[in-house]
Every structure is written in structure tokens, then in C-alpha cells.
């Protein structure tokens, strides 16, 4: 499990308006020794405010449906502003048109929220390492 990053944790941000889902996701991710959630937010505005403090984030898990700006609307803003940030979209919705739009805009992966925990953490590690994993995990 630690073959990619022996000394350094992958720093994660999660933006999702469902509080219980967000807290469970944080528990899941933090239970991995090589992953650490350093930013959590309930909407785009809160996310941008936290990122503006200069906190370093490697990968953002970004919900599509949030109050205010949607994940799709935030995506190009974030990628333009934070050039080293990688974004994994998370959604209940799996519509092909939205998946395609997200990936074409620059998201690294598009995952459904009911993804198996191991698949999620492997996707995060592969995103960090820019490797390619099986398309069945949700990358078109």
C-alpha cells in the first residue's frame, strides 16, 4: 500500500454538501497511513476560501451537486488557479454527458460515490502518480 509514497502523505481536500457523507469519507481516507484530509468544505465558496489561505493540497475530491457553484462550474476555475491540483469528481450522478464534460474540462477521474473503498484509495494513489488504472473504476 505504501509503495508510492513512503515518507509523504497525499494531502487531500474534500468538497461535498452532505455532512454525514463527508465525515464518513474523511474517516475512511484518514484510516490510510499514506492519505490525509487537510481541507473539507460544504460548498465551492468555502473551498475557495480555504485554498486561498495557501494550504497545500495534492488532490481534491469534488462533488458535482453543491449549493452555489456546481462542481462542473468550479472545476475550470480551480484548475486554472492551482496548476498542480488534481481533481477527482465524486457524484451520485453517472450520466455519460456529465462525465465526459468533467473529464474534457480536466478532471483526472469521475467516480460514483458508492465506489468500493479500495478502488477509491487506489484511484487517489494512481492520480498522484499519474498512472492509468482500469476503466471500470469510472474513468471514461
Amino acid at each position: 500500500m505504501n509503495q508510492y509514497f513512503e515518507n509523504k502523505k497525499i494531502r487531500l481536500a474534500i468538497a461535498d454538501d452532505h455532512e454525514l457523507f463527508r465525515s464518513q469519507m474523511i474517516l475512511l481516507l484518514n484510516s490510510n497511513p499514506d492519505l490525509e484530509v487537510v481541507v473539507q468544505s460544504k460548498d465551492g465558496q468555502e473551498l475557495l476560501q480555504q485554498l486561498q489561505t495557501g494550504i497545500h493540497v495534492d488532490i481534491l475530491l469534488l462533488d458535482i451537486n453543491m449549493p452555489g457553484k456546481t462542481g462542473l462550474e468550479l472545476l475550470p476555475i480551480l484548475l486554472q488557479k492551482y496548476l498542480n491540483l488534481k481533481v477527482i469528481m465524486l457524484s451520485m450522478n453517472s450520466h455519460a454527458g456529465i462525465v465526459k464534460a468533467a473529464l474534457q474540462t480536466g478532471a483526472s477521474y469521475y467516480l460514483q460515490k458508492d465506489i468500493e473503498p479500495n478502488d477509491l484509495t487506489e484511484t487517489i494513489r494512481c492520480t498522484m502518480n499519474s498512472c492509468r488504472i482500469l476503466p471500470t473504476i469510472g474513468n471514461c
Partner: protein, 242 residues
């Protein structure tokens, strides 16, 4: 002379009555259209509300249940893991069901990406499920129309495509738009299937809903047989929302 004035006033009076009656008819038509649009708007609001509750509350709650089951599975003895896997499978099925229903109720692609992108994404999927070749060509700028009109077009075309898939037994489906004179547009849905019986063009809840939506946006639907076989459905509507 008196007779002339009597006839003159009688004609004038009659003209006023006819004009007044026409105004009443126009008002009645406008009221009916307004009521129809209000009914459709209320239906869409209800769909949106239920779809949003499913997507924003029920769906994520089920996902949380799944996550907690994952944690539980790590902690229980080996003999209990299979039971938890069965429960997880049921929860996964429930999540898929909720996702499907909420996507039917709330057209997320339409809301996020607009009418053309939604149709280009969804109609081929419907056609593929019925092994039908789809030729889709929409050139008009639909962003010129109100959101309500765009949504109506979206619902009508989806229903029309579903109908072809279910009933027409066709191999090919052509969907295209044509700008008409006098500020009108046509969107045509043509298939090369088995055609229809005359009374079938008025029956069925789906067709009635399509006609109601078309009427509410100031348009109409006509359905005719194609000379070369199959059916042509035409949605005619104003090309601006003014």
C-alpha cells in the same frame, strides 16, 4: 331614412358583438394556455423536488450505510463477512435504483449542459438500447428560447424517441430541425418502422403529454405516415420566446 339608420345601427351592434365574442374567445384561449403551462410547471417542480430529495438525501444516506457496512465487515469474524456482503449488495442495488429514478425525474445533463448537449448525449443511448441507427442534426440555437420551452422540447423528443424504440420496429431514426418562415421552427422525428393506426396518434398518456407540452409552448405536434414507410412526427413551435 329611418330604416337606413336602424339597419346601420343593427350592423354596427352586430359587429361589436362579434368583436367582443372574439376577444372573449382569445381571453379564454390565453387562460387555457396559461393554465396548461401552470400545470406543466407544477409537474416539473414536483419532479425536481422529489428528484432532488432522492439525489441529495436518500442517495448519500444509502452510500453512508454502505461505507459503515464496509467498516463493519473489517471488524467482524470471517463467518459473518458473507452476510454483510449480501447486505452491501442490496444497498448497492438500492443506490442504483435511487440514481435511476432521480435521473428520470431531474434531467441533470439538461440542467448542467443545456438542451443540445443533453439530447446529443441521451438520444443515442436510447436508440442504442433498441439497436436503432440514429441520425441527429440540430442546427438551431436553442439558447434563444426560454428554459421552460427548452425543457418541453427535451421531454417531447425523449418521449418520441422512446416511442419509436418501443413500438416502431424501425432500423433508422432521423431527428432534425428546420427553420420555417414567419418565426416558426420544426423539429422532425422520422422513423422507417411499421407506421401507426389512425387512432393511435391521439391515444396514450405519453402522446397526450407531448401534445399538451407542445401546446403550452405555443406549438403543435403533427404525426403523419411517411411515403416511403414509417412515421414522421413534427413539432412546430415559435422560434423565439418573445
Amino acid at each position: 331614412m329611418l330604416t337606413f339608420f336602424i339597419v346601420f345601427f343593427a350592423v354596427q351592434f352586430n359587429a361589436r358583438v362579434v368583436k367582443h365574442q372574439k376577444e372573449i374567445d382569445i381571453n379564454k384561449e390565453e387562460k387555457e394556455l396559461a393554465l396548461l403551462q401552470a400545470t406543466i410547471d407544477a409537474q416539473e417542480d414536483e419532479r425536481k423536488s422529489i428528484g432532488a430529495d432522492l439525489h441529495d438525501d436518500i442517495g448519500p444516506m444509502l452510500t453512508v450505510v454502505q461505507m459503515k457496512l464496509n467498516q463493519l465487515q473489517l471488524a467482524v469474524p470471517e463467518t459473518n463477512k458473507e452476510n454483510i456482503t449480501e447486505i452491501k449488495d442490496s444497498v448497492k442495488e438500492a443506490i442504483a435504483g435511487v440514481r435511476g429514478i432521480s435521473q428520470q425525474l431531474v434531467p441533470a445533463v439538461f440542467e448542467m449542459l443545456g438542451l443540445k448537449a443533453a439530447l446529443k448525449s441521451e438520444l443515442p443511448t436510447i436508440a442504442d438500447s433498441g439497436a436503432i441507427n440514429l441520425d441527429l442534426k440540430l442546427d438551431f440555437d436553442y439558447t434563444l428560447l426560454s428554459t421552460e420551452t427548452q425543457l418541453a422540447i427535451y421531454r417531447i423528443l425523449k418521449e418520441a424517441t422512446n416511442n419509436v424504440m418501443k413500438h416502431a420496429q424501425s432500423r433508422n431514426l432521423f431527428i432534425y430541425d428546420e427553420e420555417q418562415n414567419s418565426g416558426k421552427m420544426n423539429i422532425c422525428v422520422e422513423d422507417d418502422g411499421i407506421g401507426f393506426k389512425e387512432n393511435e396518434t391521439d391515444s396514450g398518456l405519453g402522446l397526450r403529454n407531448m401534445r399538451a407540452r407542445a401546446r403550452a409552448m405555443g406549438g403543435e405536434i403533427t404525426i403523419v405516415p411517411r411515403p416511403q414507410g414509417g412515421t414522421k412526427l413534427t413539432l412546430n413551435f415559435p422560434s423565439s420566446s418573445d
